[in-house]
Amino acid sequence: MTNDLLVQYLAAFLFIMGTLVVILRRDTIMVLMGIELLLNAANLSLVGFSNSSHMIEGQMQVFFVITIAAAESAIGLSILVNLYRNFGSIKTEMATTLKG
């Protein structure tokens, strides 16, 4: 059991947690947070791997991923606002007019 493995374990756990949040929580804001968590987990694992094998690719990517995450959350939140405007709520089960 080493730090690297621990970090990877943590990353994996966070990743699963994030997935569960995205799938299980029913209000969009939580779901967005879940996605952030997912990205963060991925970052963690990237950094862990790259660090453990004395590389810097991982860290470099993390910068971009973080930026992307920022952009994504911005768009996500604006979509959420839009959803709120149209449905008066951000519950996902509200927005099920398209089905079948």
Binding site: L14, I29, L37, N51, M55, M60, F64, I66, T67, I90
Partner: protein
Amino acid sequence: MLSPVIVILASISAILAVMMLVSKNAVTSALALLGILIMTAGIYGLIGEHLVATIQLVVYAGAIMVLFVFSIMLLNLNKLEPAFGLKPMVFMGVTAVGLLIGGVLMKALYSHFTIHHANRVMGPFSQENVKSLGGNSKVLSFALFSQYYISFEVISLALLTALVGAVVLAKRKID
């Protein structure tokens, strides 16, 4: 040689993650996420990735979380109805599947680290090399502007898109 601090940080963030999943209040969850991010930053720091840790704190823990909390307040979503609209069976099932996948993942990681990790491809940037080259930040910055300029340039498109998109979607006036 497992460093206890990392263990502590990891376990805290794990607990926070669970909290985030189950908590009824969005703000609580947001704060839990914040916690996780900060813990992650801490771990980055401890394994010697200072620049990443800083950026993690600034961008993530700073900007993004503020954004979230702000929009929670904006749409005053802090009081949420029952969190999971799912039948308990389904909930348990999904969680079980998730954990199963997680377990498989961890097993794979374990085998990786026990079997293959030894003969992995090593890069030049061991801690001391980095030190000798003038520190983590310097190395990364050099790399950023020589090896990653394309990504660096391109990422601006993403940000611009985000900007435009946010404006387009959220702006009140409708013509």
